[in-house]
C-alpha cells in the first residue's frame, strides 16, 4: 500500500464522521447518487480545522460544519451518553462570533460587562452585569436546539439551504441567572415597557467580520414570553457560562429555539414592531401555511413566523440508524420535548410504517423545558426494519410522518417523525 494511500486510510479511520454522513458524502445513498461531486467533496471535508482549533476546549469528536465562526455538531451517540450535555460536546452555531469571548469554554468576567435597556421604556438604563449576581437566581434545565437542526432530512423531498445538520444541533443544559423581570423591578421606579411595546429585540457583542457590509446579528422576541420567563443566564451546568456559549451573559428564553437565545448580550430594545434585520426576515422564519416543497415564498411579517417556540419532536438515540441488531427483542430509546408550555403526553413507536403504534415508557423531564427520555422494546424479525417514533403533546400537537409537509426554503424547524433503519439477523 502506498504511503499516500495508507495515510489517507488512517485519516478516514480517525475521522469522527457518522457513518451515515460518510455514506452520504460518498454518494452511496439514493439521495446523493445523482452525479454530485462526492469524491472531491469528501477529500475537502477532511480539511476543515478540528473542533478544538475552532473553539479551545471543544471535543474533536464534534462534526465541524464551519471552522471560522464555529458551527459544530454533536454526534448522536455522544449526545446520548449524557443526561445533561457537557460544554465540551455541546453544539455551537455562530453566525458571527464575539472575539475573543467566543473562542473558548472559560467563564468570562461579569464585572464591566454592560447591558443597555432601551427603546419603548420611560428611562433607558445601562446595567453592569456584576449586579446580576445579587438578584434572585432562577435555574432551568432545557433543550437548547438550533432551529436548523434536522435540516438535512428535508432533502428527502427537496434540498434546503444552509448547514446540513443531522440531529446533533441540540443538547440539554441547565442555565442559571436572574429573570429579566427581576432586574427591571430593581429600578426606582421599576423599568416597565410602555404599552405599545410588543417585542424585545436582543443584540450581542458579536460583530460581522471587519470590512464586511454584513448587517449585525439581532433577533426580536415576543414581549410577553420574555417578560414571563426570560433569564439573563450567567451560569451553565453549574459553572460560569462558557464564552463559547454566550458568556458572560446570554439571553435565555426556555422553550425557544437556540438562535433566539442571544449570546454575549449587550442590548435589549423594547419595541412596538419586529426588527427588519435580515436575521429576522427573511432568515429564521417559516411560512404560516404549508407550501409545496420546492416552491418559493416571499416572506412578510404577516405570512410567516420567526423560529420562536420549539415544535414537538422526538429523536431515537438507540438503535442508531443502520445498526445491525440481533433479531428478537430490541430496546428502542431516545428523547422527546416541545416548547415546554404543556407536557409531552406520549411517544409512540411503530415498526410497520405507521399502521400501528405502541406507547413507549416516558421518564419525567428535568422540569418542563427539558427532554423526556422514552424507551420501549420492539420485536424485530430477521431482515430490514424501520423503527419510527413520534411525540404528542397535551395540546394535541404531533410530529408528522412526512416532515416535509412543513418544507421551507431554508429548512428550519424540522420535526418530522423520526426513524432509523436497522438490520436484524
Amino acid at each position: 500500500m502506498s504511503e499516500h494511500l495508507s495515510r489517507a486510510l488512517r485519516r478516514v479511520q480517525e475521522s469522527k464522521l457518522e457513518r451515515r454522513e460518510l455514506l452520504r458524502m460518498m454518494g452511496l445513498t439514493a439521495a446523493a447518487s445523482a452525479g454530485l461531486p462526492t469524491v472531491a467533496q469528501f477529500a475537502r471535508a477532511q480539511e476543515l480545522q478540528p473542533a478544538s482549533q475552532v473553539i479551545a476546549g471543544k471535543s474533536d469528536a464534534l462534526i465541524v460544519h464551519n471552522d471560522r465562526t464555529g458551527v459544530l455538531e454533536t454526534p448522536l451517540d455522544l449526545l446520548s451518553e449524557h443526561a445533561i450535555t457537557p460544554k465540551e460536546i455541546l453544539y455551537v452555531r455562530n453566525n458571527q462570533i464575539a472575539e475573543p469571548e467566543g473562542r473558548d469554554l472559560e467563564g468570562k468576567p461579569l464585572d464591566g460587562w454592560t447591558i443597555e435597556l432601551m427603546g419603548s421604556v420611560a428611562f433607558p438604563r445601562v446595567v453592569d452585569a456584576a449586579t446580576l449576581a445579587d438578584l434572585p437566581q432562577e435555574e432551568v434545565t432545557m433543550v437548547l436546539q438550533c432551529s436548523g437542526n434536522g435540516r438535512s432530512f428535508f432533502a428527502r423531498s427537496v434540498q434546503t439551504r444552509g448547514t446540513q445538520w443531522a440531529h446533533g444541533g441540540m443538547g440539554q443544559v441547565t442555565f442559571r441567572g436572574p429573570k429579566l423581570s427581576s432586574l427591571l423591578d430593581t429600578f426606582e421606579p421599576a423599568l416597565a415597557p410602555r404599552d405599545e411595546a410588543r417585542f424585545v429585540t436582543a443584540e450581542g457583542k458579536d460583530a460581522p467580520p471587519e470590512g464586511s457590509s454584513r448587517p449585525d446579528f439581532e433577533h426580536s422576541l415576543p414581549l410577553d414570553d420574555v417578560m414571563e420567563r426570560a433569564i439573563l443566564a450567567t451560569h451553565m451546568n453549574g459553572e460560569p457560562l462558557a464564552g463559547a456559549h454566550g458568556g458572560p451573559v446570554r439571553l435565555v428564553v426556555p422553550g425557544y429555539y437556540g438562535t433566539m437565545n442571544v449570546k454575549w448580550l449587550s442590548r435589549l430594545r423594547f419595541e412596538a414592531i419586529e426588527s427588519n434585520n435580515v436575521n429576522q426576515i427573511p432568515r429564521y422564519r417559516i411560512p404560516n401555511d404549508p407550501i409545496e416543497p420546492g416552491t418559493p415564498i416571499t416572506y412578510t411579517h404577516e405570512n410567516s413566523t420567526p423560529n420562536w417556540r420549539q415544535r414537538v419532536k422526538s429523536v431515537i438515540f438507540s438503535p442508531a440508524n443502520e445498526d445491525e441488531v440481533a433479531a428478537g427483542e430490541v430496546e428502542v430509546n431516545g428523547v422527546a420535548w416541545n416548547d415546554g408550555t404543556v407536557p409531552v403526553t406520549a411517544v409512540e413507536i411503530s415498526i410497520d410504517d405507521g399502521q400501528t403504534w405502541r406507547r413507549a415508557d416516558l421518564s419525567a423531564p428535568h422540569g418542563g423545558y427539558g427532554w423526556y427520555e422514552f424507551s420501549t422494546v420492539v420485536n424485530l424479525g430477521s431482515g430490514q426494519s424501520r423503527i419510527w417514533s413520534r411525540a404528542v403533546d397535551e395540546r394535541g400537537q404531533v410530529q408528522p410522518l412526512n416532515g416535509s409537509i412543513r418544507w421551507n426554503p431554508s429548512g428550519y424547524e424540522w420535526n418530522g417523525a423520526d426513524y432509523v433503519d436497522v438490520t436484524a439477523s
Binding site: V12, L48, P208, P215
Partner: protein, 236 residues
C-alpha cells in the same frame, strides 16, 4: 470484511483519487474560480458543496441573500455564479464533471488574471488590501518570500488563520486554502504577487521564479491555517 472496513477502504481509495486529480471539491466548469473566490470569503467551501441539489430559484434566492449578508458582485459576476451553481450544484448536475485542462504549464497561465479572479475581491486589484479587513499583498508578499521562500506557497495551499501585523496594522481574519487551483496557476500567481509586485526590490537578485514543481512538492502535508501562522516569518 465488515461493512465499516469496506467503507473505510472505499473512502481511502476515493480520497487518494481526489488528491491525485488536483481539484477542489467543486466540479470543474465555467465560473468555478469565481465561486471559490466569492463563497470562501465568508464560509468554507463545504457549505456551498453540501447545498448541492437546491432548485434553481433557491440558488437565485441564495445569491440575493448572500448579497444582503455582504457579498459584493457585479451583475456579470452574479450571472456567472448563478449559471455555475444551477448547472453543477442544481437538481440535475451533469453526470461527468468536466476535466480540468490536463497539461497546463505555467507559461500558459497569466498570474495577473489568476489574481484578479481569486484574490482581488479581498486583497484589492492592486494588492493594497483593505485596512482593518484584509492585509496588503503588494510588497508584503516579497518581504515574506525574502525571509522564507516557501512560506507564501504554504499560505496559498493551507490558508492562514489568526492575528498578524502588517506595516503596523493588525489583522485577525481567515485566509482560505486554495488547493483547488492547479500547481501552474498557483505558481503563476505567486510570481505575480511576490516578484512582479516587488517594487522596492526586497528580493535578492538571484531569487528564482516559482515553478509548478515547487507547489506540487509542498502539497499533501497534514497542516492547517493555524500551523501556517506558527511558521510565519517575522517581517516589518
Amino acid at each position: 470484511m465488515t461493512h465499516r472496513t469496506v467503507i473505510s477502504l472505499l473512502a481511502a481509495l476515493l480520497l487518494a483519487l481526489a488528491s491525485a486529480q488536483d481539484g477542489g471539491p467543486l466540479p470543474q466548469g465555467p465560473g468555478v474560480d469565481l465561486v471559490y473566490g466569492k463563497c470562501q470569503q465568508c464560509h468554507p467551501i463545504n457549505y456551498t458543496v453540501s447545498n448541492a441539489g437546491l432548485p434553481d430559484f433557491l440558488w437565485a434566492d441564495t445569491i440575493q441573500l448572500m448579497k444582503q449578508l455582504g457579498m459584493e458582485v457585479t451583475e456579470e459576476e452574479e450571472q456567472i455564479l448563478f449559471d455555475y451553481l444551477t448547472t453543477y450544484l442544481g437538481t440535475e448536475p451533469p453526470p461527468e464533471p468536466q476535466e480540468a485542462s490536463a497539461a497546463e504549464t505555467s507559461a500558459e497561465v497569466d498570474g495577473a488574471q489568476v489574481y484578479a479572479t481569486n484574490c482581488a475581491s479581498c486583497h484589492g486589484a492592486e494588492g493594497a488590501g483593505i485596512p482593518g479587513g484584509f492585509p496588503p499583498v503588494a510588497g508584503h508578499a516579497a518581504d515574506l518570500a525574502a525571509a522564507d521562500r516557501s512560506y507564501p506557497i504554504d499560505v496559498l495551499l493551507y490558508g492562514l488563520n489568526g492575528p498578524i501585523t502588517v506595516d503596523g496594522t493588525s489583522y485577525d481574519g481567515v485566509m482560505p486554502a486554495w488547493q483547488q487551483l492547479s500547481d501552474a496557476r498557483l505558481a503563476a500567481v505567486l510570481n505575480h504577487i511576490v516578484i512582479a509586485w516587488d517594487e522596492e526590490g526586497t528580493l535578492p537578485p538571484n531569487f528564482a521564479r516559482y515553478a509548478p514543481e515547487d507547489v506540487a512538492e509542498a502539497r499533501g502535508r497534514d497542516q492547517g491555517p493555524r500551523d501556517v501562522l506558527e511558521r510565519r516569518p517575522s517581517v516589518p
